[in-house]
Symmetry: C2
Subunit: 335 residues, 2 copies
Amino acid sequence: MSIKTIAEMTGLSITTVSHALNGTRPVSQRSMELINEAAAQINYRPNLAAQMMKTHRSRTVAIIIPATEQNNSTNCFFFDVLNGAKSRLQESGYELIVSTYPESRPQDFFSGMSILHRRWIDGILLVPPTLRYEDIARIEDCGVPVVLVDRWVKGGKLPLVCSNNREVTVEAMKVLYQAGRRRIAFIGADFPNSTAVERYQGYLDVLEELGLPRDELLICRMDAYSMSCGMEAARRVLGAGADAIFAANSMLCLGTVKELQEQGIHVPEQVAVIGFDNYEWTEITNPPLTAVTQNASLMGRTASELLLQLLDGKQPEQRVVRIPAALTIRQSHGL
Amino acid sequence: MSIKTIAEMTGLSITTVSHALNGTRPVSQRSMELINEAAAQINYRPNLAAQMMKTHRSRTVAIIIPATEQNNSTNCFFFDVLNGAKSRLQESGYELIVSTYPESRPQDFFSGMSILHRRWIDGILLVPPTLRYEDIARIEDCGVPVVLVDRWVKGGKLPLVCSNNREVTVEAMKVLYQAGRRRIAFIGADFPNSTAVERYQGYLDVLEELGLPRDELLICRMDAYSMSCGMEAARRVLGAGADAIFAANSMLCLGTVKELQEQGIHVPEQVAVIGFDNYEWTEITNPPLTAVTQNASLMGRTASELLLQLLDGKQPEQRVVRIPAALTIRQSHGL
């Protein structure tokens, strides 16, 4: 009835008004303005209840992502994931509810949404806080499609979109090798998540491939992505005679750079460095940093795409999509 | 009826089960687990329609924030705002829908939500893309409370939570003055938003207070928060004989630092620098950067607090809340 009224007020068809109000199909900017005006004039509030009963859909998806303390640039990564996911959902008229959990309390990953909302969203994008499927299995109790983003879990069959962490680590290591480095240290995290695991695995694999010995003194896996952990790890591997450092996280890389500065070590002449994640500050280190660039936004976008396919009742062509990360070559790797 | 079933299955009271399922009151972790299990077992889906009709609430709030291209650390700021807002809403059982708009297309600020959702959310947290109330007035057509975050608009009476941009700029300028600087340049943006305006106004005010002449050659207001804009602005004010630079944005500050490096200018001996926003990379510049630290998370949290008060039908004690920003003193300011 209200739709009919708005159609009469605007001179637009009932179909157009209905699509505009339900977000089921895009309409022109001008029509949207007319409809908005008319809807405001008659104080139109769509009957979400009727909508949901008719379509069994709220047209709302939740994204569950980790967050660190503020002013920590690692938050940028998941903001970019979120923003990419949102952009794709928006094109299909879906809203995005965001839920965050602290990396330090992974067991809270699912408590950021009230039960009411959990049982009412249409789908979930999840950055899992753990490697074990059992720990996240209850998310499937929601009875809606779930797509994993950035990190996989062992077991389960959930679709996944993430970077090619192992391959890009191998690539970075080979660049250091080609620059003549033979004592290449790995600084990463011993977190129970797949990005930490895959980067470490890439390091071990390439050592073997290149015929380099595995020296435990050159391996530092820390328990936090922080500058102080990066500094401590760098101190240790420098003490063990590293001639190159691969830092598998941006905060650990920042700490590495700072420790090298404080010890007055010349990069790359004395020690070469390649870092993970290519934020703009990598351009102001001395020399500018060679770093891995991930496409976080495309990761989020692709995860939404998979989820929308599942919501349409289709099976995605690929259950696992790897978004290529690439090395941005500057000067810190040597040569 | 389902609530009664779950109460029987778990041995908990109907009241407890009802609060747990509706998110209206916190219940113990253990009870929550029991209720979740039982709810999953009987495939309970709460009747959101009935809920909304009874309470006229969806218990969902929207946050509308700007986003830049990816790998840009300015995105951290709004992620921290979002995360702070979410933490407070979660305590009261509200969900957060996120909508982003590109800073370069401010007119799109409101189109990130479908009309369906706009007319159904309980309240809005808005980082306005403009200075003019007229440009955002239609947001009030939603008929729900709106709280502005980070930036005000001219006119209107919307509640606001933001930093004390003017005061902290004055403070930073006085530090540079006390370090003996008399040709202090301002690098900022000529964006139509209140953070840009207030930081610039702080600069002009303090010049007058200190009896320093206003030299247009020392003022660069750029049209983007980018490293290249920062570099260009730094080139210009260095050419005009600046002995200190106040960079009113983190990306512009990064560009400033890079330009100083490339020209081989010693900081702070030749040119002193204070920047806005205190990300960790400020610790690896040579020397470490003195910078303004904003409390983005508290800003988001406080905005949620105001919105929740409005949703409870209360008027907040203060319509405008300023979250103090503070200088983090390191070495780039001189002395």
